[in-house]
Structure formats: structure tokens, C-alpha cells
Symmetry: C2
């Protein structure tokens, strides 16, 4: 038997039971639910994580007049509201994703793609914090290696 305890109105990319209500998600985070913001969240959701360029070209299909400044402004507002997370990986362009259940990333050395890896860093944090003179609260993990696709087709 599995018990899913789902906090109300927390986005979880892995649980696509029903279409995501971006309006409610925005309001929960004290942000106005504008069409542009909904579009941004939608693009992030369909891509999992997204660069500013992909987001820009994607969203222009719906809002041809949208400006990059609008994207940056909104991304930062959503980051301040912890609704969006910035993902920085060495040698890669910055990615943005809807804040979701803890997970790691794999950056493929060969093709550069970034994949989500299901992992709970809680034990790592719990283990490290007492060893450190700092108070450790969370962990962001980026793995590097070779992705499934490259393994299959490559040597």
C-alpha cells in the first residue's frame, strides 16, 4: 500500500494525474495569474527544465510580442516566490524549472542534455550537517556521465 501525502498546491512534475492549475499555483504564491506567466509555467512544465532561449522562442508562438525582459522579470519574481528554481550547471546555459520534489540532474558529457534523476538528498544532508561546522539544510546534486541515449547509439 502506498500513501501519497501531497501538500496542497505544490507542483510535482512527476504526478501528472490531472492538468496543472497554473492559475491556482500562481495565486498560492501571491502572484497574479497573467496569461504570460501561465505560458511560462506551461513551457517549463512541458520541457521539464528550459533555457531562456528555448523559453523565449517557445512562448513567442503564443505571445508574439513578449519581450525577454518580461521573461527575466517573471522568472525572478517566481524564483523569489520559490515557485521557480534556477539550475546552474558547469559548461551549460542556465536552466529554469518549476520547483518540484527534490531531484538531481544528470548532464551528459557527450550530448549536453540534462535529465532529471529521482533522488532524495535528505539522508545526505542529515549525514553531512552534524559533520560540518555549518548548518546544512539542503543539497543540489548534479551528476555527470553519459545519458541513456548516447549509451545506446554510441560506443
Amino acid at each position: 500500500m502506498f500513501i501519497f501525502v501531497v501538500a496542497k498546491n505544490i507542483y510535482n512534475g512527476a504526478m501528472n494525474y490531472e492538468p496543472i492549475n497554473y492559475e491556482a499555483l500562481l495565486r498560492t504564491h501571491q502572484l497574479k495569474a497573467t496569461p504570460q506567466r501561465i505560458g511560462i509555467l506551461n513551457a517549463m512544465h512541458t520541457h521539464g527544465h528550459i533555457t531562456i532561449d528555448t523559453l523565449y522562442s517557445d512562448i513567442k508562438k503564443e505571445f508574439s510580442a513578449i519581450s525577454l525582459a518580461t521573461l527575466y522579470k517573471n522568472i525572478h519574481q517566481m524564483m523569489d516566490a520559490t515557485l521557480v528554481t534556477e539550475v546552474k550547471i558547469a559548461q551549460q546555459k542556465t536552466l529554469y524549472e518549476i520547483t518540484k520534489a527534490a531531484h538531481a540532474h544528470l548532464a551528459c558529457d557527450r550530448c549536453g542534455s540534462v535529465y532529471d534523476i529521482a533522488i532524495d538528498a535528505t539522508p545526505l544532508v542529515a549525514q553531512q550537517s552534524p559533520l560540518s561546522q555549518h548548518r546544512i539544510e539542503s543539497a543540489q546534486i548534479t551528476f555527470t556521465g553519459v545519458c541513456q541515449g548516447c549509451l545506446t547509439k554510441g560506443a
Copy 2:
């Protein structure tokens, strides 16, 4: 009894037995040992990790005419040679450090400082790789929390 197996000419920031021979380190990595490069490595070493701005103002004390382009060009060459590592942390400026023994970083939520955390990610990689459809080879870990300094002086 402790046995230290130290690969020859690998930089290890933690082992300051003797002054680091940057010339040899550069040559080992097939890079010409120019004074500017030695200065860059020296600044990285004394700071542990460094932003481009700090590096620039630091190194100008020795090479007043050095240009930012020279820094970026060299950093990239050293990164290609795996002598330097780029550290990207969300909400922070990119840091550069001499590639050293595996370690994690702690980014303080309060003051923004970044500290090194001694940790060997090998077990994490070994544990995750078989669980994944990808081949996982290494891990970069960034912890967030509150650093010792802020803990002491703050609430």
C-alpha cells in the same frame, strides 16, 4: 597509520606541505607557463575559489595591463585541460577553482559566502549509477544552509 597516495603533480588545495609549483602544474597539463597563468593559479589558490571580478582586481596588482579577455581565454584553456573547474551555483556569480580533490560546496543563504566541504561523492555515484538508465560518473554537490560565521553572530 596513514598512507597518502598522491598522484604526481596533481594539485591538492588541502595539502600545503610546500609551495605549489604552478609552472610544473601547467606544463603537466600541456600549457605554457606564462607569468599571467601562474598569477591566475596563485589567485585561485589563495582564494580557494574566485569570481572573475575578484580575480581581475587581484591580478591587476601584479599585471596592471592584463585584460579580462586574457583571463577568460586562459580560464577556458585551463578548463579544457581539466586544470581549472568552473563552479556554478544558483543565484551566485560563477566561481573558478583549481581542480582539486573531490569536495562539495556550501552556499550560505545569509551572507552568500561559499565554503568547501570535504566529502567523497564516490559512494553516491556508485549507489546511483546502477539505479539509473544512464552511466553516472561523477557528482557535483552544492549544499545550502547557514555558514558557521552567520550562525555565530546571527540568531
